[in-house]
Symmetry: C2
Subunit: 259 residues, 2 copies
């Protein structure tokens, strides 16, 4: 367990901003030791959907993925975003390998089965092939995962990037001391949603329970925090939530989460 690994997830707000993305990729490329990048989608898929005359269908903040939308997200996430990111990382000396969960059978999922809503081609992760990922890492490769997985029956499935990061991190926890970084547009988990500087520096299981009961946590943070504790409960060492630059500057403000 002396090996440590960083699993870094970046969200749409970084991907949509060329300067922010370049700065982030420079920081990521400089990270020492084995590392994995997981990226979300950003606004480009909605843009392309619109240009192609598709109307995005949402349900409680979640996109319903019909067949045409699945094609668009596959093109944008696995094609446009993933390959440009990989090319940039290569130019920075990081030997990146961009993948969906279908590649190398790395991340398997099942189509979401919801009693009331048909989410369409949305997948819930069932298995990560840690052996495949470790083989790549052992050859100096940096896996870069987009948020597309597959069901092993030939069907691609749109999958939440936060969950992919959590599951990939958990899958490696037998072999590595895993630190999972959720980079987003805030400095961390906020005590008060209107005050950007009200970052809660540490959260553990006990304080999490208190926060849940007090209703202090903003709705948007709930699924992210669930992913954090899922990862921790499966053996991940610690999780950081904050701005992208926290991955290089270890004294940067953030929320650190442990069990």
């Amino acid at each position: 367990m002396s090996n440590s690994i960083a699993v870094v997830k970046i969200g749409g707000n970084v991907i949509d901003d060329t300067q922010k993305l370049t700065a982030f990729l420079q920081d990521f490329a400089k990270l020492k030791g084995p590392k994995i990048l997981v990226h979300g989608g950003g606004k480009k898929s909605s843009q392309f959907s619109k240009e192609m005359g598709l109307t995005p269908t949402m349900h409680q903040g979640r996109r319903i993925t019909d067949a045409a939308t699945l094609d668009v997200v596959t093109m944008v996430y696995a094609g446009l975003i993933n390959k440009n990111m990989v090319a940039q990382l290569q130019s920075l000396g990081c030997n990146a390998l961009g993948m969906s969960g279908a590649d190398g059978n790395a991340i398997q999922s099942v189509k979401r089965n919801h009693p009331e809503i048909d989410f369409g081609f949305v997948g819930d992760v069932t298995k990560v092939d840690a052996g495949f990922i470790q083989t790549q890492l052992s050859h100096g490769i940096t896996p870069v995962f987009c948020a597309i997985t597959h069901n092993q029956e030939g069907q691609l499935l749109n999958t939440n990037a936060d969950t992919i990061a959590s599951e990939v991190a958990a899958s490696l926890s037998d072999s590595f001391e895993v630190v999972l970084h959720y980079c987003f547009e805030k400095k961390g988990v906020l005590q008060s949603v209107d005050d950007d500087d009200s970052v809660i520096p540490f959260i553990d299981s006990a304080s999490y329970k208190v926060m849940l009961n007090s209703g202090i946590i903003a709705d948007g943070m709930l699924p992210k925090l669930k992913n954090c504790f899922d990862a921790l409960n499966k053996g991940v060492h610690s999780v950081n939530i904050g701005l992208p630059r926290m991955i290089q500057n270890t004294s940067h403000i953030r929320t650190q989460i442990t069990l």
Copy 2:
């Protein structure tokens, strides 16, 4: 040199036809031993370009790749086509890993420098990392390359799929007996372009020279045959040109090319 490997290139006419593509992937998945797939683009990128209001610019049958067109081909080749093919191969028990040339720094290229025409973001292959490809093969992985490469400075480049297949095949010829298959819509190289059954069964350097001088070879076949002889001159064992089903049925009609 007891190891043999198949490098198979399929073109747009197969990719555009769901039934043909499924039949081909079933045949490809059944191929014994190490293998590599290289795929072209098909009509989907032109379709999407049109839907997005882009006008394809052609010069002597070659697409001029401006920045917007590069985005579309990256989305369609590396995203939509590559990932759906990988998912189908996984469902057929073939552990496929879809890649562009940027992934793992597998295929490097330079932007084409033409004295008269600016082809835009088009790349000519300069180097294939055979070591990276062999590492994947040694772990039971089947690389699936789309026709996008990179210049190591962060720029993706649209690249001819026939050339990628030829260069990938050549790069492996020190370690494998490489058979390169060019699958397309004809039964082979035709003696008479109007007679689908006038397949020339064998071509070698001597007969190739005679054919070149006699002007018998159709214009469209010239670059393909050049790629064949480039591969053979770099150590590839033999090249087959014909219908997709030739890869499974070794007695199927085809044109076999050797030095």
